[in-house]
């Protein structure tokens, strides 16, 4: 906090009025002032803001970094990928987090990929379909195929679950299948992966696409979703790791200019193989090193 704020917060009106309510009044004014003046010590602070998909991983890496370096405190905040990019550019954050590649107009920043997140198509576990070809996927999502019977399932109407505009998962999905956003005929639009998984899990006729790691973790825990093979290729974390799975998004740390001091140290740790266990624990994929 600024020095002048701390100086302003010096108490102390007395608490010896006869009126209990007046005392309560003054006490309420007093507490935050007293507590606020007990400000934190003089350690270095590193702030990361941005994508909530990168946040949990960054926070775990930060914790490991702090164990080795006692004089630094790293705070990880969320707010979305665009926030991460803006904050990194403006300097409000030391390092930004983005769950997408940098756009051409963001050329003042460099991106460091610390993990990969595969994108898979999911359907309800009770749906007997196991594999979809590229054309089938396009037909299902653009509304040309309206019944599951056309792709080997029961004769029930398809419920398409699509991601909201601007999201990197949507962009990558569209890019891979050569589609434009307006072409998708969505029955339901969702935001986060967890919402997508829960929506599909609650509807036997639904089809959607989400983070592979999240879907696999939930499926293993008993949530009724199934990951669908694409053109015969099985959706596994290993396939993403050796780059045979075609759709995945990068989880990036973005920095302006050259990082120095603890920022550089943190990034070095995040890039190294020492954090592979943290990455795998969050059902993500270590990037090629």
């Amino acid at each position: 906090m600024h020095i002048w704020v701390r100086m302003l917060l010096t108490p102390v009106p007395t608490l010896n009025s006869d009126h209990p309510m007046l005392n309560l009044f003054r006490l309420c004014a007093l507490i935050p002032l007293v507590l606020a003046s007990a400000a934190s010590g003089a350690e270095t602070r590193l702030t990361l803001t941005g994508s909530s998909s990168v946040g949990p991983l960054a926070a775990e890496i930060a914790r490991r970094y702090e164990v080795a370096h006692a004089d630094v405190r790293i705070d990880v905040q969320t707010g979305g990928s665009s926030r991460g990019v803006t904050d990194a550019l403006s300097g409000r954050a030391d390092i930004g987090m983005a769950s997408r590649a940098l756009k051409p107009e963001e050329k003042d920043l460099t991106a460091v990929t610390i993990a990969l997140d595969g994108i898979t198509i999911i359907i309800h576990r009770d749906n007997p379909v196991r594999n979809l070809t590229r054309d089938q996927v396009i037909a299902l999502f653009t509304g040309k195929t309206v019944s599951w019977s056309a792709v080997g399932g029961p004769d029930r109407p398809v419920v398409v679950v699509n991601k909201a505009e601007g999201r990197s998962t949507l962009e990558l999905f569209l890019h891979h299948f050569g589609l434009k956003a307006e072409q998708i005929k969505a029955s339901v639009v969702i935001g986060d992966n967890a919402q997508g998984i829960k929506t599909v899990a609650g509807n036997p006729d639904a089809i959607g696409y989400v983070s592979m790691g999240a879907a696999q973790t939930d499926a293993d825990a008993g949530v009724p979703v199934r990951l669908v093979s694409l053109d015969g290729l099985a959706p596994t974390v290993a396939a993403v790791g050796d780059r045979t799975w075609p759709i995945s998004r990068p989880l990036n740390l973005v920095i302006k200019g050259e990082p120095n001091g603890h920022a550089a140290g943190f990034i070095a740790l995040a890039r190294s193989a020492q954090v592979n266990d943290l990455i795998l624990d969050l059902a993500l994929v270590p990037p090629p090193r």
Binding site: S51, R83, P157, A181, V188, G202
Partner: protein, 288 residues
């Protein structure tokens, strides 16, 4: 007017408080307007108010469908919440004996403290699948209305309850002496207070419903369209902002700020209409 210093202090403190509250309102509105101006300049007001098609990445920023969605979801929620809340408030504030009334009040207070994420997730995993079986896709205006009702019934109930509890005990005893049942007593002494409580509760429930984001986002379906029935998915203004804010840049982001401004205008319009329809009649019933 007393000349005692305590009274003067009280007067100053009270007026300062109101002034500060007013200042906050002006500041918030100012920030929203300032944030929305670039968007308005890029797309023009008719871009937002004249169309129902929302594809900001290709320049279409029609917000009409979302305005309809917001009003529809809130309206449905109120239709359920005000009667249910009123009945519950009547139970705990007028009819039940003290022990049971306190217990009911506690449960209602707990229900009002449920974070919207909790209610939303319950709606997504428990309510939407049932609706999906009945009428796909399940995530719809109806689902959002039900979930919002769940969140606002406690507000109405608690306010009706506290309104009824302020009615003078002597008056109630008098009605009992006259041989009136609880309902008779209500008709005799409680109706203005009940009406006032329902109105205040209804207003606060409306504002809560209009500002609610997370729960609605999870269960409303979020398809930008004017709904043909309550089983159709809709998107509200607030859910629209929350869905896309995390990834929006440039013009897209500016457009979302304008959505925030429109949301604020919807709130103001609804409240001003309500205020005009129900002018305080000064009987001192105490509410509205």
């Amino acid at each position: 007017m007393s000349r005692r210093p305590a009274d003067a202090f009280l007067r100053v403190a009270s007026i300062t408080s109101v002034a500060l509250a007013g200042l906050i309102l002006v500041a918030v509105v100012g920030v929203i307007v300032a944030g929305a101006l670039p968007g308005l300049r890029t797309f023009g007001p008719w871009g937002f108010l004249g169309s129902a098609i929302w594809h900001p990445s290709s320049g279409q920023v029609g917000a009409l469908a979302m305005v309809v969605g917001t009003i529809g979801v809130t309206g449905l929620a109120l239709l359920i919440a005000v009667p249910l809340g009123g009945l519950t408030g009547l139970a705990s504030g007028w009819l039940l004996p003290r022990g049971l009334a306190g217990l009911l009040r506690l449960v209602v207070m707990l229900a009002s403290g449920l974070p919207s994420i909790v209610v939303g997730l319950w709606g997504l995993t428990a309510v939407v699948p049932i609706l999906a079986q009945w009428h796909p896709p399940g995530a719809s205006l109806l689902a959002a209305g039900l979930v919002l009702a769940m969140m606002t019934v406690p507000t109405v109930a608690l306010i009706v309850d506290s309104a009824l509890r302020t009615i003078d005990q002597q008056q109630r005893q008098a009605t009992a002496a006259l041989g009136l049942s609880s309902w008779g007593a209500l008709a005799a002494v409680g109706l203005p207070t009940l009406r006032g409580g329902l109105l205040t509760g209804g207003v606060l429930a409306t504002t809560r419903a209009l500002g609610e984001t997370m729960a609605v986002l999870l269960v409303a379906g979020n398809v930008v369209q004017v709904p043909g029935s309550i089983f159709d998915p809709v998107r509200t203004l607030t859910a629209g902002i929350a869905l896309e804010m995390a990834y929006a840049t440039g013009d897209h982001r500016a457009a979302l700020f304008v959505l925030g401004l429109i949301a604020l205008m919807v709130v103001m319009a609804l409240l001003l209409t309500l205020r005009w329809l129900v002018r305080d009649d000064g009987t001192g019933a105490g509410y509205v």
